[in-house]
């Protein structure tokens, strides 16, 4: 019972907050709604026994990425709504496209049998140990590549800012 | 800019030594200083209970003096009012009547003598200006109050008691001045 309640309430929270996120005028609120959405997703991770990923998800998304977003919004004072309005028609079209996309995929996947829950579940699958073993054995090279990616990202950001100061 | 005198010397040393660059030694030295003070005797004077002794010449609240026989010294000459840079002193002079000789020393006296303590800046010029030994500043601080009207100190608030034992001793101040005369 508790499981169902928590799953459905978390899902509901995620969907509602993400809908609010895309519709809210104030970017600051959008970020905060997305934050709520991320928290519910983290809750779902924990429900799936992936606590490690859940916490990492919070640290990375809530602790770093969203803070960056907030920071940018606050610092540049961007929260005010954009002055130029899109025409109603285009907005309607966008929403329709989204709904249709949803509908099509729903319809396509409705009858797909995903199978039932496995009889034997590995309790340890979400633990840091398991994940670490996988990461550093099978996926060692991708793991290293991501760090290169990170490095290049960092350098990119630094270069962006450098250029900026030179211009001024 | 050429040097203007031969007595100058550059005092600020901005190059940091190796240990100063490390932050830690200086911070530790600072911590040592503060720790030392943590156990030091405190210098605080707990004011309402303890009071710091004021100097004999302290310029606090005013007093209107009486002479040895309990007569008011003030003759309402108005010098104090003129000397007052804050224009805080006001007085009304009156002729001494027959039979009032025990009250007032001179032929003229101040029927009203007001000091607006909120205006007063305790500069001591009134005391200096008084030719009759009548107004003195004392070493008591002037107290605060709730209402602006209450700070208009009237003569009966300023005047010291008529009895010899209630008089305020300002001998030290006078002596200090007399000392200077020599």
């Amino acid at each position: 019972m508790i499981t169902e309640i928590s799953f459905y309430s978390l899902s509901f929270l995620a969907i509602v907050s993400s809908i609010l996120m895309i519709f809210h005028k104030n970017a600051m609120y959008s970020v905060l709604f997305l934050l709520i959405c991320f928290f519910s997703v983290a809750g779902l991770y924990v429900m799936l026994n992936a606590q490690f990923l859940g916490i990492v998800h919070i640290i990375v998304y809530a602790g770093a990425i969203m803070v960056l977003f907030l920071y940018v919004i606050m610092f540049l004072n961007m929260s005010s709504p954009i002055t130029i309005r899109k025409s109603k028609l285009i907005m309607l079209a966008a929403i329709c496209t989204g709904l249709m996309f949803l509908f099509v995929l729903f319809a396509a996947l409705w009858s797909v049998p995903f199978g039932h829950a496995p009889q034997q579940v590995d309790q340890n699958i979400g633990l840091a140990k398991t994940l670490g073993k996988v990461l550093f054995n099978e996926y060692l090279i991708p793991f290293e590549v991501t760090s290169v990616l990170f490095l290049s990202g960092m350098i990119g950001v630094v270069i962006f800012n450098k250029k900026e100061t030179e211009n001024e | 800019m050429q040097p203007l005198s031969s007595r100058s010397k550059i005092v600020s040393n901005k190059t940091m030594s190796w240990s100063e660059r490390l932050y830690i030694p200086a911070i530790l030295a600072g911590l040592k200083v503060t720790l030392h003070h943590l156990f030091k005797k405190k210098v605080t004077v707990s004011y309402p209970e303890q009071t710091r002794p004021h100097s004999k010449f302290y310029r606090g609240r005013h007093v209107l003096k009486r002479d040895d026989q309990g007569r008011e010294n003030c003759t309402a000459c108005g010098l104090c009012a003129i000397a007052c840079p804050a224009e805080a002193i006001t007085m009304v002079a009156e002729e001494r009547q027959k039979g009032e000789e025990t009250l007032y020393r001179e032929e003229k006296y101040a029927a009203e003598y007001n000091i607006n303590m909120l205006r007063c800046i305790f500069c001591g010029l009134c005391e200096e200006a008084c030719p009759k030994d009548a107004i003195y500043l004392t070493d008591t601080i002037s107290t605060s109050g709730y209402n602006r009207d209450t700070f208009l100190y009237t003569k009966d608030m300023l005047l010291e008691g008529a009895l010899p034992e209630t008089r305020i001793d300002i001998q030290a101040r006078r002596k200090g001045q007399r000392e200077g005369a020599m």
């Binding site: - | 050429q2 203007l4 009012a81 224009e87 007085m91 009304v92 607006n116 602006r148």
Partner: protein, 171 residues
Amino acid sequence: MSKVEKTDNQFVRESIQNQFGPAVKSIEESYGMLDIVISKDTLIPVITWLKKTETLRFQFLTSLCGVHYPEQKEFEFSVVYHLHSLTQNIRIRIHIFMPESDLKVPTLTTLFAGANWMERETFEFYGIQFTGHPDLRTILNVEDMNYHPLRKQYPLVDNTRTDKDDKYFGR
């Protein structure tokens, strides 16, 4: 002290008179300081010369203030400059006079950056217009002050004082 030949008031007096001659209206010494009165047209040349001349080098503007003499007709207002030659250690005072009808004085801000606020203050107190000043506004008082308070005709006191009974004071 520098090794340059030591100058004194006498030397300064002579060199000014040699340089400007009749433009200097009066020059006298009081309490050890030279008092020079010049007309305001010659102000900038005189001060520039004083500042730039190698033997004098009055490169320090000590102070600048206005004075109001209501009694002197046609010379009601005056601006007084104190200059100081640090290398020679000699001070000089320069007066210019002007009538109330013509309160325009060339600014010194081109020569001394520090003259800026001093001139603003003088403008505020006496209404003396410094032509060429970058930002001649009131500086100390409220912005919409509509008179120049240090002129002698204006009273010192504030009329809002309520605890004063004027009958006791002769002022």
